[in-house]
């Protein structure tokens, strides 16, 4: 009996100790560990996927590296956990990962009910349509009566139904459980249209024998803001996560890139001086060092560099910036000023 009591007491102490440690703040935990634990997809080209050297690369991966650069001045002080769609939020709220950077759509219920906080929108995605060029379709409004291939049981199906109903058009759905089957069906001509998120459309198009035989229609019929997520309730960590994202945008806006960041240290532009920590100290209040943003740009690059390297027109995915261009260039990526 006494033994049992001792065991229970021990377990309770260990449990309390663990809880106390978790309450010490994520930044302290991360500092103590020596690396940022980052949750990513199990492989989506351009966002998070192994490259030819089997190192994680992608836009979402770069965000995690930027976070590590800000905290540790080392873009490699990050470990990646590959997560499935079902377990991603649990892994975050259970503390298995420090930040989730995994194609998570920012929705109200997720933001308010799961004990997690969305940091910002790294990538504005939305559902689009792909058709064969030879069909001569130029707008989604021409799609009346078309056979549409899609994955079953996703919001994709509902979005398409809403869109067609709202525009008073008829359509036939051809649904499959597996993405590969959907693509195959479209390729074999069993349907005229393939619909899914436009980033995925671009990735799939790049795999076709002749990618240019297919076009992605300009209409985007749903809002899919994808962004990093942290546990709710830790303001310090949330701010670090948020301003890491803003620093990526701000440096692009100010023309500070990985290549010229050292020259830019001598710039006369006050905004650049503030960003790079030459003037003022914006890092210390975050719990970081003064040159936190300098490290991000130096080690990872700005948003444009990361985008071009992973998703841009020069990559096989070949995605234009679109909505993800800076506000100055006709997009909606916008960072508050650092001052």
């Amino acid at each position: 009996m006494q033994k049992t009591l001792v065991t229970i007491a021990l377990a309770a102490t260990v449990g309390l100790g663990a809880t106390a440690a978790a309450q010490a703040g994520i930044l302290e935990d991360v500092m103590a560990k020596g690396y940022v634990q980052c949750g990513v997809t199990s492989g989506v080209a351009g966002f998070s996927a192994p490259d030819s050297n089997n190192v994680w690369t992608g836009l979402e991966v770069d965000y995690c590296r930027a976070l590590a650069a800000a905290v540790f001045n080392d873009a490699d002080a990050v470990r990646f956990t590959s997560l499935t769609g079902q377990e991603r939020f649990t892994a975050l709220s259970a503390g298995e990962i420090d930040v989730l950077s995994r194609a998570a759509t920012w929705t109200m219920s997720r933001d308010t009910q799961l004990g997690i906080s969305f940091v910002g929108t790294m990538f504005y995605d939305g559902q689009g349509f792909m058709v064969r060029k030879s069909d001569g379709i130029e707008s989604a409004l021409d799609l009346s009566g078309a056979a549409i291939c899609m994955k079953s049981g996703t919001t994709t199906e509902l979005n398409a139904a809403d869109y067609f109903a709202a525009n008073g058009m008829e359509f036939n759905t051809v649904v499959f459980v597996d993405k590969d089957e959907v693509v195959k069906a479209y390729e074999d001509g069993r349907c005229d249209v393939y619909t899914t998120d436009s980033s995925a459309l671009a990735a799939e198009r790049s795999k076709f024998a002749v990618p240019n035989d297919h076009i992605i229609l300009p209409e985007i019929i749903s809002k899919e803001p994808l962004g990093p997520v942290v546990r709710a309730g830790d303001t310090t960590w949330f701010n670090i996560a948020r301003w890491t994202y803003f620093a990526l945008l701000e440096s692009e806006e100010l023309g500070v890139s990985q290549a010229n960041v050292d020259e830019m240290l001598g710039s006369d532009n006050p905004a650049i001086k503030r960003l790079l920590g030459v003037e003022g100290d914006f890092g210390t209040p975050l719990g970081l060092t003064k040159d936190w943003a300098y490290q991000i740009v130096k080690l990872v690059g700005n948003y444009a560099e990361s985008y071009d390297r992973n998703l841009g027109p020069a990559t096989p995915i070949g995605l234009e910036r679109g909505l993800n261009a800076l506000w100055k260039n006709g997009g909606i990526q916008y960072a508050p000023p650092i001052r």
Binding site: A22, S42, N53, K207, A209, P316
Partner: protein, 375 residues
């Protein structure tokens, strides 16, 4: 007196049997066209083979792009399997995200494993006891240190970086070696006369058997973290290992129980009358006979465990199949219409090699242990 009779003084030389009875034509007639039904089936079989074999051969070998090929060749309209893709991405399929500069570590683990395991399988090789101790106690520790690192100046490699065939083999080897003894214990427990032990074992076996493996892994990956205090994390690989081991041990227990029930009561009684205790009776008399009966069942379980390892993708781990899938999806520089098919074909071949070897070894073992029970 002369006896006139005809007696042959030498044998007539043997003549070959008529073509009707032996020779290729006879074989064909006897085996392929014996009855009209047989003839019809043969013709259909031939047509089926003609339909399936040449295209398959063309795809896999004939028009395939060899290891040194380029992606342009794979994209050609009449290209077959893209083996160049497999060759170039092989490192990911075997080691996952394991740092390329550190891949000598899993290589040593593979080599040591083969060196210790193969002699265990060959009956003639001596020093079985030492060998078994090395394999079961020393080898896991050495492998863990080598793979995980972090000590002796080895770079730390978190388990999230392990992947591919490495993960598949770790899970199956650990699962097989742990679930077997655990299954025996559970089977014996189920036959126990002590109500507590019996109930516990029955409850465990029935609970685990009534739930799909996917559910157990899902539970381990999604529910378990919610039960535990925040900040305590359990390694994903460990969770998968525990899940797979418990699952297989429940099935193993039932297979072993089948063997135990085949042993006549007299054997138990004979053991008892010799003055042997429970454990001696089991160890020397009952289990050796019982296990021999159920070798096919046991190996069946091992094979299904090996294949079930691919379910660990549920917990976000990259076993061989998931590694192939990941590259199929994300290696855009290798995209062609046959890339994914080639990837799956490769994974299927690896699985087949392992499973078929297991099944052949079990047949060998059955023959070796056969002491007149074969029916």
């Amino acid at each position: 007196m002369t006896n006139i009779g005809f007696v042959r003084s030498e044998l007539i030389p043997a003549k070959p049997a008529p073509n009707r009875i032996s020779g290729p034509m006879a074989w064909v007639q006897k085996n392929l066209f014996a009855t009209p039904m047989d003839a019809v089936l043969t013709v259909f079989g031939m047509l089926f083979l003609l339909w399936i074999v040449p295209p398959l051969f063309n795809f896999v070998i004939g028009q395939a792009v060899g290891p040194s090929g380029t992606v342009e060749e794979c994209r050609a309209v009449d290209a077959g399997a893209c083996w160049a893709y497999i060759y170039n991405e092989m490192k990911f399929f075997i080691y996952g995200f394991f740092d390329i500069a550190e891949q000598w570590r899993p290589n040593i683990v593979f080599a040591l494993g083969a060196l210790l395991f193969v002699p265990l399988l060959i009956p003639k090789v001596p020093f079985k006891r030492v060998n078994a101790i090395l394999f079961l106690l020393v080898y896991p520790a050495v492998s863990y240190i080598l793979l995980a690192g972090g000590v002796f100046g080895l770079l730390e490699m978190p388990t999230q970086k392990w992947g591919g065939l490495l993960i598949t083999l770790i899970i199956s080897v650990v699962g097989i070696t742990l679930s077997f003894p655990l299954g025996i214990v559970l089977a014996l427990g189920r036959q126990s006369t002590l109500p507590v032990i019996k109930t516990l074992c029955v409850a465990f076996i029935e609970l685990i058997r009534a739930v799909p493996l996917i559910t157990i892994l899902f539970m381990a990956s999604i529910m378990l973290p919610l039960f535990m205090p925040q900040g305590t994390t359990m390694d994903k690989l460990l969770r998968a290992l525990v899940g797979v081991t418990l699952f297989t041990s429940a099935y193993m227990a039932e297979v072993v129980r089948g063997g135990l029930q085949a042993i006549p009561r007299g054997q138990y009684e004979a053991g008892a009358s010799l003055g042997l205790g429970y454990s001696q009776r089991m160890y020397f008399i009952i289990l050796p006979q019982a296990l021999k009966h159920v070798i096919p069942g046991i190996v069946n379980n091992f094979i299904s465990l090996f294949k079930d390892t691919s379910l660990v993708y549920i917990v976000g781990m990259k076993d061989l199949l998931e590694a192939v899938k990941t590259k199929n999806d994300s290696a855009l520089e290798w995209q062609s219409s046959n890339t994914a098919t080639t990837g799956y074909l490769f994974a299927a071949m690896v699985f087949w090699i392992f499973c078929f070897s297991m099944s052949r070894y079990s047949i060998f073992m059955e023959r070796r242990l056969n002491t007149g029970h074969k029916r």
